[in-house]
C-alpha cells in the first residue's frame, strides 16, 4: 500500500499529489492518483479499507465523478467509477486521492 502521509484537506485539486475525493463537490470529475487509507479515519483498518476500495474498482488511473450526494452533511456520495456507480461515505472517500 502507499504510505504517503495523509493528504491535507487544504491541498488544492491541481497539485501533483491531488486531494481527497471525500472533499470534492458534486459534479467533480477526475482521475484517481493513489489510495491513502491512513488519514481517512474509517472504522476499518487501513489495509481493509484499501482492499475494499480496490475490490470496488477504485484503483489508480480510474476515472471518477461525483454524481449525487445525500442530504445530511452532503453524505454519502454516489461516485461513477468507470461505468459503475458506487455509493460511499465521504469518510471512506477521504482515502481516495484524486486529481
Amino acid at each position: 500500500m502507499t504510505d504517503d502521509k495523509t493528504t491535507l484537506p487544504q491541498t488544492s485539486a491541481d497539485t501533483p499529489s491531488g486531494s481527497p475525493l471525500g472533499l470534492a463537490e458534486r459534479g467533480y470529475s477526475g482521475v484517481i492518483q493513489h489510495l491513502s487509507a491512513g488519514g481517512a479515519g474509517s472504522a476499518l483498518s487501513d489495509v481493509e479499507l484499501e482492499s475494499r476500495l480496490i475490490e470496488l474498482g477504485f484503483v489508480e488511473g480510474a476515472k471518477v465523478e461525483i454524481l449525487h450526494e445525500g442530504i445530511v452533511g452532503r453524505d454519502p456520495i454516489a461516485v461513477r467509477v468507470d461505468n459503475v456507480t458506487i455509493a460511499v461515505r465521504r469518510r471512506e472517500a477521504m482515502a481516495i486521492i484524486v486529481a
Binding site: S51, G57, L67, V84, T85
Partner: protein, 623 residues
C-alpha cells in the same frame, strides 16, 4: 456406467444474474431482484444437459472477493474453498459476470483461478451489453484469461444454450483437472495487481461505446436529489400504505361475502349440531376471516417487488444512510427493514449482507417492529370496525391514514429502540462504512413479478390451510367444550374451556382494556398474528349462536369500546406474536439470548403502549 453427478457452483459479483441463471437452468423460482445482496443462502438445484449429463448446481451469494467479510460472503468462500462441512467442492465454477460491467468480475475471476478449481466465465446480461453497443471478443478474452468464456441471457428463453453446450463439451472431453489450491487472502498489492491485469485484459478485448445508460442518469437526477429524492421516497411509501387499504377493498368485500354465503349455505344444509358449528364457526368463519386479507397482502408484495425489480432499493438505502445513521443504523439495514414490511423472516435473513456484527444485530432486533403483512388483517379488522371511512382534506381516506399512522408508529419505535441500543449497549461504536453498488435501472419483468406474487400468495394460503387452520380447530374445540348444561341461559361459550382459560388470564390484561375473548385470541395468536383475527371470528361466532351470520367487524363494533380497539392496535404494533420470527432470530444470531431479549422487550413495549393508549382513550371519553 452412468457418469457421476457434475457439481457446478455459481460465483460472481453481486447482482450479476447468478440466481436468474440458476432459475433458468433448474426451473426453480428463487428470489431475483435488481439490487446487490439478494441471495444470502446456498441453494442447490439439479438439471440434465442436452446430452443427458446429470448436473447439480449451487447458487451462492454474490461477492467481490473470497475474503468473506460478511456472513453471506463467507458462505460463498467456504463452498469455493471446500471448507463447508459435508459439501463437495464444485467440479466447475461458473463465474457469472454482468457484461456491462466487467472490471470487478474479471478481477474476481483472476482471484478465483488461484483456488485451482476449473472455471468458466459466463458473460451474462449480454442482451443489455449488445443494446448498449458493447462488443466483446470472446475468443481473445478466453485466451487472455485462460478459461472458457460463454455469453448468456439468463432471463430469455434459450439464453443459456451456449452455456449448456459448453457444459456438455467439458463433461464429454477430458475433464479439466483441479489444480492445487494456492488461494490466500490477497494482499493490497496483489489486489491492485489483479485489478490492473483485469483492466488490461478488458482494454484489449472489450470495446465500450460512448453511449452510457442515459435513463438511469435521468431517473437518478430526480430520485437521488438530496431533497427531491426524500420526497419521492416518502410519497412512494405513502401511496403504498394507502393502496393497501383503498385498492383492496372491493375484492375483500367480495371474498368476505362469499365466505358469509358459504357459511350460510353450510348452516342451512347441515342439521344443527357439532358438525355444523365446526364447519361454519371453526373452519369458515375462522380461516375465511384470514383469507379475506389476501388482496391486501398481494398489494403490499406487488409494491415491494416492483421497487426491487426496478432497482430502487439501493437508491433508498443511499438516501436513508445518514438519516438512519442518526438512530444508530447502517444504510445497508434499509433493504432488510423495508422487506420486513412484507415479512420479518426474509428481512432478518437479508441482514446477512451487513458485515459489522453490531449493525447486523441491531437490525435483527428491530426488524420485527416493522409492520409485516401478518399484522394487516388485525389492523384492517379493527380499523374498519371502529374508524369511519371519511375523506379528510378531500382526498385522503381516514382509514388509510390511520393505517399509515400504524406503519409510522412501527418505524418510529424501531428507530427509537435502535437509538437506545446504540446509546446504552454499544456505546464505543465507530460507524462501519457504507459501500454499495447502485445498479442501473431495469424494467420490471411482468413474469418475474407474477411469479413473486404467486409464490407469496401460495405461502399465505398454505399458512391459512395449516398453521391457522389447526389453531382454529383448537380454538373451536376449546370454545365448544364442555357443552352447556341443558336449559342454560347464558351463551354456550361461557361454559367452555376457552372461557375458563380466557377469564383466568383476563385480569392480567384488564389494565390494558382487553376482555377475556381477546385474551383467548392472543394466546394462539403467538403462533402467527393472523390467528388472532380468526380466533376472534370463531369465539364471537360461537358466542353469537344462530344469529352469528353477521360479519366479525360489525360484531366487534358492538362489543368493544373504542378504547379497547385502540389498545389492541397499539398492542399489535409491538407484540412479538410470531413463533417463526423468533426462531429465525435464534438461528441468525446463533443464540437464545437475543431471541429472549427480542421477545421480552417487544412484550414489555406492547404492554406499556396498550396501557397508555387505553388509559388516555378512557380519559378522553372513549371508554
Amino acid at each position: 456406467m452412468e457418469a457421476p453427478l457434475l457439481h457446478l457452483a455459481l460465483v460472481g459479483t453481486p447482482n450479476s444474474g447468478k440466481t436468474s441463471l440458476f432459475n433458468a437452468l433448474t426451473g426453480s423460482r428463487q428470489k431475483v431482484a435488481n439490487y446487490p445482496g439478494v441471495t444470502v443462502e446456498r441453494k442447490e438445484g439439479f438439471f440434465v444437459t442436452p446430452l443427458g449429463r446429470q448436473v447439480s448446481v449451487v447458487d451462492l451469494p454474490g461477492t467481490y472477493s473470497l475474503r468473506g467479510r460478511s456472513p453471506d460472503e463467507e458462505i460463498t468462500r467456504d463452498i469455493v474453498l471446500g471448507k463447508a462441512s459435508g459439501e463437495t467442492r464444485p467440479d466447475l465454477v461458473l463465474c457469472v459476470a454482468d457484461s456491462t460491467n466487467l472490471r470487478l468480475t474479471i478481477r474476481l475471476l483472476l482471484e478465483l483461478k488461484r483456488t485451482g478449481r476449473p472455471i468458466v466465465l459466463v458473460l451474462n446480461m449480454f442482451d443489455i451489453a449488445t443494446r448498449r453497443g458493447i462488443t466483446v471478443d470472446v475468443t481473445q478474452m478466453a485466451d487472455a484469461l485462460g478459461v472458457p468464456v460463454v455469453t448468456s441471457i439468463a432471463v430469455r428463453k434459450g439464453g443459456t444454450a451456449d452455456l449448456l453446450k459448453l457444459t456438455d463439451e467439458i463433461s464429454a472431453g477430458v475433464a479439466p483437472q483441479p489444480q492445487e489450491n494456492n488461494w490466500r487472502p490477497l494482499s493490497v498489492a496483489e489486489l491492485r495487481a489483479t485489478q490492473r491485469e483485469a483492466d488490461r485484459i478488458i482494454a484489449s478485448t472489450v470495446s465500450l461505446p460512448s453511449r452510457p445508460d442515459t435513463w438511469t442518469a435521468r431517473i437518478d437526477a430526480v430520485v437521488l436529489h438530496p431533497v427531491g429524492g426524500l420526497i419521492v421516497l416518502a410519497l412512494i411509501l405513502f401511496v403504498m400504505f394507502q393502496a393497501v387499504f383503498a385498492w383492496a377493498q372491493p375484492l375483500m368485500e367480495l371474498l368476505s361475502s362469499s365466505f358469509d354465503a358459504l357459511g350460510q349455505f353450510v348452516h342451512d344444509t347441515l342439521p344443527a349440531g357439532l358438525l355444523q358449528s365446526f364447519l361454519q364457526n371453526g373452519v369458515i368463519s375462522g380461516v375465511g376471516s384470514v383469507i379475506v386479507f389476501l388482496p391486501q397482502i398481494i398489494i403490499i408484495f406487488l409494491f415491494i417487488l416492483l421497487l426491487e425489480d426496478f432497482g430502487y432499493m439501493a437508491r433508498a438505502a443511499f438516501l436513508m444512510d445518514r438519516i438512519m445513521g442518526g438512530a444508530g443504523l447502517h444504510g445497508r439495514a434499509f433493504i432488510p427493514l423495508l422487506s420486513s414490511f412484507a415479512c420479518a423472516i426474509p428481512g432478518i435473513m437479508a441482514t446477512r449482507v451487513i458485515d459489522n456484527r453490531r449493525d447486523r444485530l441491531t437490525t435483527i432486533l428491530i426488524a420485527p417492529l416493522m409492520t409485516c403483512s401478518a399484522r394487516i388483517p388485525v389492523y384492517t379488522l379493527i380499523i374498519s370496525a371502529f374508524i369511519p371511512p371519511k375523506q379528510v382534506w378531500g382526498f385522503i381516506n381516514l382509514q388509510g391514514l390511520v393505517m399509515f399512522g400504524l406503519y409510522a408508529a412501527g418505524i418510529i419505535s424501531a428507530l427509537l429502540v435502535s437509538f437506545l441500543i446504540k446509546f446504552f449497549m454499544l456505546r464505543d461504536y465507530a460507524p462501519a462504512p457504507f459501500m454499495l453498488e447502485l445498479p442501473d435501472y431495469k424494467m420490471p419483468r411482468p413474469k418475474s413479478i407474477a411469479i413473486g406474487i404467486f409464490t407469496r400468495a401460495k405461502m399465505f394460503l398454505q399458512r391459512a390451510g395449516t398453521t391457522i387452520f389447526s389453531m382454529m380447530v383448537l380454538i373451536w374445540f376449546l370454545a365448544s367444550f364442555p357443552q352447556p348444561p341443558a336449559g342454560a341461559a347464558d351463551p354456550a361459550i361461557n361454559y367452555s374451556l376457552a372461557a375458563i382459560l380466557g377469564k383466568a388470564i383476563a385480569p392480567l390484561l384488564a389494565p390494558v382494556g382487553f376482555n377475556w375473548q381477546i385474551a383467548v385470541a392472543l394466546i394462539p395468536g403467538m403462533a402467527a398474528r393472523e390467528v388472532a383475527v380468526a380466533a376472534l371470528g370463531t369465539v364471537y361466532a360461537i358466542e353469537g349462536g344462530k344469529e352469528a351470520a353477521e360479519q366479525i367487524g360489525q360484531v366487534l363494533a358492538t362489543k368493544w369500546s373504542l378504547a379497547t380497539a385502540l389498545s389492541l392496535l397499539a398492542w399489535y404494533i409491538f407484540a412479538p406474536q410470531c413463533a417463526s420470527t423468533l426462531a429465525v432470530i435464534r438461528r441468525e444470531t446463533g443464540s437464545w439470548k437475543w431471541m429472549a431479549t427480542t421477545f421480552a422487550y417487544m412484550l414489555a413495549l406492547a404492554y406499556a403502549a396498550s396501557l397508555v393508549v387505553y388509559n388516555v382513550a378512557v380519559a378522553l371519553g372513549a371508554g
